[in-house]
Point group: C2
Chain length 473, copies 2
């Protein structure tokens, strides 16, 4: 909204309300088209009969397709309606194409994540196969699957950034000096396009935890095996959709990152009353800022994973202690003391995140301030602000890659285990299954702690640098 408004002002557009309100309208339409997409989901199986279970993923995908088609149509209509201006009569078409770029990016992200985490495809199947030769090969295969899964999303996002920027730039909108000015607005519109199906994607995300917990209730209430089979199937789909949403969120963050960089640079420039147009990494200090930014991502992931690992150890030791002290638990004769485990986990979840949280807040401020002093000492203008910008950009790049790696590897390990539990490669209780459980254990902190919190970290770094910008001058 702010970006659209300020651009409209720069281009001297008579009625800037369309540019300002555009994001709100897109979000409103998102609610409508996503609702239609959700309502279009219908299982064909009747409740009572024992027909073959329809693939839940296919049903969800069908609803997603409906949403996408409607989103494309409404997005095109809203660009024509709100972004049409007489200065550049064909600009709205360029922005509509930007939106299409965003929608296609979202679709490809969903598809790629599905490919790497759904056990109907090659990667998870060969991950499951690697469990048959032991714990070690399972972990190696999972890590390399996760690392490999970063490649296609990065290619997609690269094409999206460049094409949206280019479409915006050639939209015909020029500022008072006659320079094309719509590039950044183009990437913003693409981000809006990506988010135009967000409500539906969020629905798919909710599906995962619901199915997972349903499975848990079925197991604890000792329902017959056939019920568990159905919830397992739903849970496997839930793992894929959860991974999908995380990929989607990272993708939109990557696309939006440019807006945050430029917001930061604009703010610094207007505060310092100095031009701030470039972040030149051929200058040693600025390169070092990038090195530190990437390192931040590694260190944060380390601490997030270590927190889960330590807590898991405490819980395992507590469970072992209870088993030894009260052997009746294993035969369902005695009730275990759930409370102790819950309190270990609850207090750890608060205590253990202090360190990574502090890292995220303190380090950009400390680095910016230090390099500000260094810049003043060596006579380099705006050095602190530039180093922080470079730190932000490198951290964003490393963060996107690391989060994709952690999310996909985690989802794939979980579903490889689920695949074996359907009876493949020896089924439940086999050595292969045990190796797959190891993978799932490693995957949990990856996909449920470090991965999603990296996403928060990237956005928080951007926000902190924006808020604290005056300190770096």
């Amino acid at each position: 909204m702010i970006l659209g408004g300020s651009m409209a002002q720069r281009c001297k557009i008579e009625d800037p309300s369309g540019f300002i309100l555009f994001p709100l309208v897109v979000h409103s339409f998102d609610l409508v088209v996503s609702s239609i997409g959700i309502l279009s989901i219908r299982g064909t199986r009747n409740g009572g009969t024992k027909a073959a279970i329809e693939d839940p993923m296919a049903i969800l995908q069908k609803g997603y397709s409906v949403t996408i088609v409607l989103a494309v149509i409404t997005f095109g209509l809203s660009t024509r309606w709100l972004l049409y201006t007489e200065q550049a009569p064909s600009a709205w078409l360029n922005f509509a194409l930007c939106g299409l770029v965003g929608i296609i990016t979202a679709y490809l992200f969903v598809w790629i994540t599905k490919y790497y985490t759904d056990y109907k495809h090659e990667p998870v199947r060969s991950l499951a196969l690697s469990s048959s030769t032991g714990h070690g090969t399972n972990i190696i295969a999972g890590i390399s699957l996760g690392l490999e899964s970063t490649a296609l999303p990065v290619l997609v996002i690269s094409v999206a950034i460049i094409s949206a920027f280019w479409l915006g730039r050639t939209s015909g909108l020029v500022d008072e000096t006659g320079k094309p000015t719509g590039g950044l607005f183009g990437t913003a519109v693409a981000t809006m396009g990506m988010l135009s199906t967000a409500a539906y994607v969020l629905t798919m995300d909710m599906f995962g935890p619901i199915a997972d917990n349903a499975g848990g209730i079925v197991e604890m209430s000792q329902q017959p095996e056939s019920v568990r089979e159905i919830t397992d199937l739903l849970d496997a789909v839930g793992n894929t959709t959860k991974a999908t949403t995380k990929g989607f969120a990272i993708g939109s963050a990557a696309l939006a990152s440019f807006l945050l960089f430029s917001a930061y640079m604009d703010e610094v420039a207007s505060f310092a009353q100095l031009p701030f147009k470039e972040v030149d990494i051929a200058i040693p200090e600025i390169f070092v800022g990038g090195l530190l930014g990437s390192m931040l991502i590694f260190l944060f992931s380390a601490w997030a994973c270590a927190a889960v690992g330590r807590t898991a150890q405490e819980v395992v030791n507590e469970v072992r202690r209870q088993f030894i002290e009260r052997p009746g638990i294993m035969e369902y004769k005695e009730k275990p003391d759930y409370g102790r485990c819950v309190s270990i986990v609850a207090s750890a979840s608060l205590r253990e995140m202090i360190k990574p949280g502090a890292l995220a807040i303190i380090s950009p401020i400390a680095i910016g301030f230090l390099f500000r002093l260094l810049g003043q000492a060596t006579g380099q203008q705006l050095l602190g602000a530039k180093v922080v910008a470079s730190m932000l950009m490198f951290a964003t790049v490393s963060g996107i890659l690391m989060a994709l790696f952690l999310n996909t590897a985690g989802g794939a390990w979980d579903n490889a285990k689920k695949y074996i539990e359907t009876g493949a490669l020896g089924g439940k209780g086999s050595d292969c299954h045990k190796a797959a459980i190891t993978g799932d254990t490693v995957g949990d902190p990856f996909k449920d702690t470090a991965g999603p919190s990296l996403h928060v970290l990237i956005k928080m770094l951007a926000t902190i640098t924006l808020v604290m910008a005056p300190v770096f001058l």
Copy 2:
């Protein structure tokens, strides 16, 4: 040598031979001081007696200290001798300090790696402890240890880059326009300082495989347990020194990276007859180049790890087949068919590296060429060359971090296993030991394949971009 020569020319120094020959002299002194360091290593234990075994790491460290002290002295002397010039009488002192920065960096790298991979320190001990709660917690702890271990080296290298550049810049050497010009030469001298103990560090590296293979021979020739205990101890030290050398190599590559960037930029500028002074990542295309460069590191690591994982699976299956077909092997009654396993590994080691190798060669050329075309279409000068420069820088940053992570995690897992084998936490054959073996299995492709080859990848990317620069214009 080239850098020193061209700088001497730019500063109009009468006798540039000192600047040109400086690296050769430092390398020659390295041979002398490292030899003295090696000769200073003496075990105090007499061959025959059964005295307590002295800590081999302490002996190696003592030799390293001797080498460092001598290196500092000779480095100071050679800077005074070769880099003294009448234009800037105190420049040699600045460069001597640059060398000291390099030597301190090397020492800190060795120390940090030792801290994270030697089982006398906290990290490996708590990694070993995490094995007692299972395979999963062992892997999580190892990965977070590896990720965390990147932080201190990055801080050290950041301080080193900035201080060496600053020392060089303030050396008093100016070019014909009066601008300070020694910054880059400062980082080059720091790199030489870091390499001034290279021969000794290389000796420590050799120690690892020798001790490891000695252990293998002892085991295969069924020597008494006491012999194996000694070789195990040596092997554990060898793991640490191997990790140390890899960290040292990565550190010197990071320090030297700036020289390669600027060599590339100089070459492009002189070819294109256009100024090429900056790599501005606030431009979308150049930012995307960085994104692709970092992704390259992740993808390369993925393929390297996957290659080992696949080959390990093949070998496990082959060994299982032989055990089933010829049950006598387990009782030493029948000889296994070693040849089959050797041939699997040998052919895989050639075949599996084709894909990552091709990636390293083709991708910078393809990306540079593509963005050159895009730059020509959109009227951006030198776009291809700039995108490749950004790709190179981001790949270097991500590569340094990833290689540190992989090397340290691998070494730590190996030594956690060794620590348990000394009898801690249940000793050999316990569940804890089994979990530690899983960690070691995962660590092997990390520290022996992906980690070291990333180092090669970074240098290869720099070389390819240098050689292929004319294609990007």
